[in-house]
């Protein structure tokens, strides 16, 4: 290393990116180190579960008079829950107190509480990815023993009614790199988002274009829209909005969906080691394409786009289409929800070269604090909140879309309600079988994916994709140590 004799800070000042140069070697070491440096937390064994204490017939009133505390994220799902909470208290005699925080701060709040080990909140909302961070340290209660205990769970619960891919997503062995769908059930699916194209039909009709069926077509379509829409009476309109901020949330929606359809992977298990492979040829090509599309046909300030800018631009008629959560379009499409409400339609998005419709999903789930002092009452709440009655009511009367239960999606009232969202249900049915978590489970998910978003921004800013992604791989390895 030519600079090795200079103080580090000089490198930092003069050639910021020079640390990337070290990566070639670091990646070599790192692969082994990465796996060995991720110790596993205590895994709660099923026989230890407090669920075993529950015997006799199932009884909703078992914990009559108890009080539990919930930590909730400000969300339409939460609104539907709050509206129905009295029904739960009437049914069980349990009162629920809750604290509510907006999403940008919610997980920090939850992490601090779980980290402190104080058990302030008995139940809370979390995403499937959070299981990878919160599960290994033993912060989450395994709910499998509860579900399987007929004394604890009401006979109507119908666990299998929840889509299998969703159940699997919260089900993990806590072993780094091991696929989902084994071990404990660390959270219960509650509501979810699949990532699709949502577009403004008025623009598409006027310009006579149709949603793209391949990635190359998508890039071209976005460019066409950017070029032609402003001249067709849509002032300042551009082709496509996606998230672009320096957050893990930039990677997981449209980007990860299309990345996977094109054959991209995040990690590969090589022997005992989990190796980041975002620098593969397929990946480099995709990053270049995506960055080019956003640069040419995306919003001017793309690197500062959170989900709400994406939704806002669609609603305000600035973005012709978005590749993001299907429900983001749904909320903009409701009457009074935006200036263009009623004009949006859904499409599964471009297929992969092999016809793949793999779709990444975000699942709002409910979890139980392993340190909770009220587990039995908390479990009554959780099975009620993820049960058929509440979820059906929440989907029809509230805005609990997408439903996690097949019975709710098939419900005629729900179908009627969704009918004015053009192709929403068709799209849903087209992708639901292929909608799953497309990331490899590992506890440094947030570090790695935040770094990933930073690298995508750099490529967007003009950096060489191959070099940037090589550096990313090295940084992920370092961060895991």
């Amino acid at each position: 290393m030519s600079r090795s004799n200079r103080p580090l800070w000089m490198d930092a000042l003069t050639a910021r990116r020079s640390r990337r140069g070290v990566i070639g070697t670091a990646a070599g070491f790192g692969a082994a180190a990465f796996a060995s440096k991720l110790p596993l937390g205590p895994v709660a064994a099923a026989q230890d579960s407090a669920a075993a204490d529950i015997t006799g017939d199932f009884n909703w009133k078992r914990e009559d008079g108890k009080k539990i505390k919930a930590l909730l994220n400000v969300h339409p799902y939460t609104d539907a829950l709050k509206a129905d909470l009295q029904a739960f208290t009437d049914l069980t005699g349990i009162t629920v107190e809750y604290d509510e925080f907006p999403e940008n701060n919610y997980f920090d709040k939850l992490t601090v509480d779980l980290q402190s080990g104080q058990g302030t909140y008995d139940v809370f909302m979390l995403g499937a990815y959070m299981v990878w961070q919160y599960g290994p340290p033993g912060w989450l209660e395994d709910m499998k023993p509860w579900i399987e205990n007929p004394s604890a769970t009401n006979p109507e619960y119908a666990w299998d009614d929840i889509y299998e891919n969703l159940r699997t997503a919260d089900n993990w062995s806590l072993k780094v790199g091991e696929p989902l769908g084994g071990g404990g059930q660390y959270a219960l699916p509650w509501g979810f988002e699949a990532n699709t194209i949502i577009y403004n039909t008025e623009v598409f009709d006027k310009l006579g274009v149709a949603p793209a069926e391949t990635m190359d077509d998508l890039v071209a379509l976005a460019a066409t829209l950017t070029e032609k829409a402003p001249g067709a009476g849509f002032a300042d309109m551009y082709g496509i909005a996606t998230r672009g901020s320096r957050q893990w949330a930039t990677i997981h929606p449209g980007f990860m969906t299309q990345y996977s359809r094109e054959g991209g992977k995040d990690f590969e298990l090589q022997g005992d080691a989990l190796v980041p492979v975002m620098n593969s040829d397929v990946s480099v090509a995709f990053h270049e394409k995506w960055a080019k599309m956003m640069k040419e046909s995306g919003p001017a300030n793309w690197t500062n786009y959170f989900w709400y800018e994406v939704g806002t631009d669609l609603g305000a008629g600035k973005a012709a289409m978005i590749y993001d959560a299907d429900i983001l379009g749904y909320f903009q499409n409701q009457e009074g929800g935006s200036a263009n409400a009623g004009k949006f339609a859904w499409h599964p998005g471009p297929k992969g070269p092999d016809g793949s419709l793999l779709t990444n999903q975000w699942i709002w789930s409910l979890g139980m604090n392993a340190k909770s002092q009220n587990k039995s009452a908390a479990w009554l709440f959780l099975q009620w909140a993820t049960g058929k009655d509440h979820l059906t009511m929440a989907a029809i009367e509230g805005n609990m879309v997408n439903p996690v239960r097949a019975s709710v999606v098939e419900n005629a009232e729900f179908q009627a309600k969704m009918a004015n969202n053009k192709n929403y249900l068709e799209t849903f049915n087209a992708i639901i079988q292929d909608t799953k978590i497309l990331f490899t489970p590992q506890p440094t998910f947030f570090d790695a994916t935040t770094l990933w978003a930073g690298s995508l921004q750099e490529i967007y800013g003009g950096a060489n994709a191959k070099e940037t992604l090589d550096a990313l791989v090295g940084d992920i390895v370092n961060a895991a140590e």
């Binding site: 994220n73 400000v74 969300h75 339409p76 609104d79 709050k82 509206a83 107190e97 809750y98 604290d99 509510e100 925080f101 907006p102 999403e103 940008n104 701060n105 919610y106 920090d108 709040k109 601090v112 509480d113 980290q115 402190s116 104080q118 302030t120 709400y308 939704g311 806002t312 631009d313 609603g315 305000a316 008629g317 600035k318 429900i327 909320f331 903009q332 009074g336 929800g337 935006s338 200036a339 409400a341 805005n399």
Partner: protein, 311 residues
């Protein structure tokens, strides 16, 4: 000027205000009669207006935002159909389940900020007096320790404080906030008042004591009234910083003691970001510091004059 400015009696440098301002202006303005209506004067007025346009535009824009409806939020600039919906949502007058108990948070903020400033004044005024008037062993170390809390990143203490509060039951309690706000308010108040006391000649207490007051009475009845402007200015600044604090109330409270800074952000979540409601919440939470500032305006600049800098 200013019969309400007792400290002038003892501050040798004090001069009539108008004159002071005239000389301070670095122009031909030394002669007050020559000042108005000159070309240069108009130019300087325009510069003043330019700065205030920059400073006030965002606030005017926030005001406009607070009167916009959700569907006009992102499609209109200056022309829109004003509505009071955002204020109704903040004040809890709309019936949707999306409402946030903002007025409760407002009250919480008042309790925590006033409480914090009151505690800081109660313990800070005697301490500032001691640091100004006495040379005693360890004084410098104690003073610097006190001030160094102002250097600590808030995050550095937040998790230990969280764990302690959970254990001793101060989590989500007003008292917990009042205590942790001392990190913000106490150093500021001691800093400003200590130098303020130093500006007062000790002969003041001595003559009061010759008049038959004991030392404590001399302090309370003679000295403290003289530093009132300093106390008012320091208390206002401390109040504003406590009122605006975000990270402490965010981590250390739940639904019971949550404050307006955290509460206003809650409108940014959900299906759509409700900037309009957040704007209304920000404006409503502007009221207490504004009322305070207006009520002590005559003290503010003068209070800082002697306080913040000397020593």
């Amino acid at each position: 000027m200013a019969t309400d400015k007792p400290s002038q009696q003892v501050h040798q440098q004090a001069i009539p205000e108008a004159q002071g301002m005239a000389v301070a202006a670095s122009g031909p303005a030394v002669d007050p009669d020559a000042r108005p209506r000159s070309i240069g004067g108009i130019g300087l007025d325009l510069l003043t207006i330019a700065y205030f346009a920059f400073a006030l535009f965002p606030i005017i824009w926030i005001l406009m935002l607070s009167f916009k409806s959700q569907d006009q939020l992102f499609t209109t600039y200056f022309r829109f159909d004003p509505t009071l919906d955002s204020y109704k949502a903040v004040l809890g007058l709309s019936s949707t389940t999306e409402s946030v108990p903002f007025m409760k948070y407002f009250l919480n903020s008042l309790i925590a900020s006033f409480g914090a400033v009151a505690v800081s004044l109660l313990v800070g005024v005697p301490a500032a007096y001691a640091f100004a008037r006495y040379q005693f062993k360890g004084a410098n170390d104690m003073l610097f320790t006190l001030l160094s809390f102002r250097f600590a990143p808030e995050l550095m203490v937040i998790i230990p404080v969280y764990v302690i509060y959970q254990k001793i039951g101060l989590f989500d309690r007003h008292l917990g906030l009042i205590w942790v706000y001392q990190l913000i308010t106490l150093p500021l108040i001691v800093w400003i008042l200590r130098s303020y006391f130093q500006d007062l000649t000790p002969e003041l207490e001595q003559s009061a004591m010759l008049d038959g007051y004991n030392r404590w009475q001399a302090l309370v009845k003679v000295v403290v009234p003289l530093v009132k402007p300093g106390i008012a200015a320091a208390a206002l600044l401390a109040f504003i910083f406590a009122w605006n604090s975000f990270i402490f109330p965010f981590i250390l409270t739940g639904s019971n003691a949550q404050t307006v800074t955290v509460g206003a952000l809650a409108f940014m979540g959900g299906a759509k970001p409700r900037y309009n409601v957040t704007a209304a919440a920000a404006l409503i939470s502007l009221i207490p510091p504004l009322v305070l500032a207006l009520s002590i305006q005559r003290y503010l600049v003068r209070g800082l004059t002697f306080g913040a800098v000397k020593g």
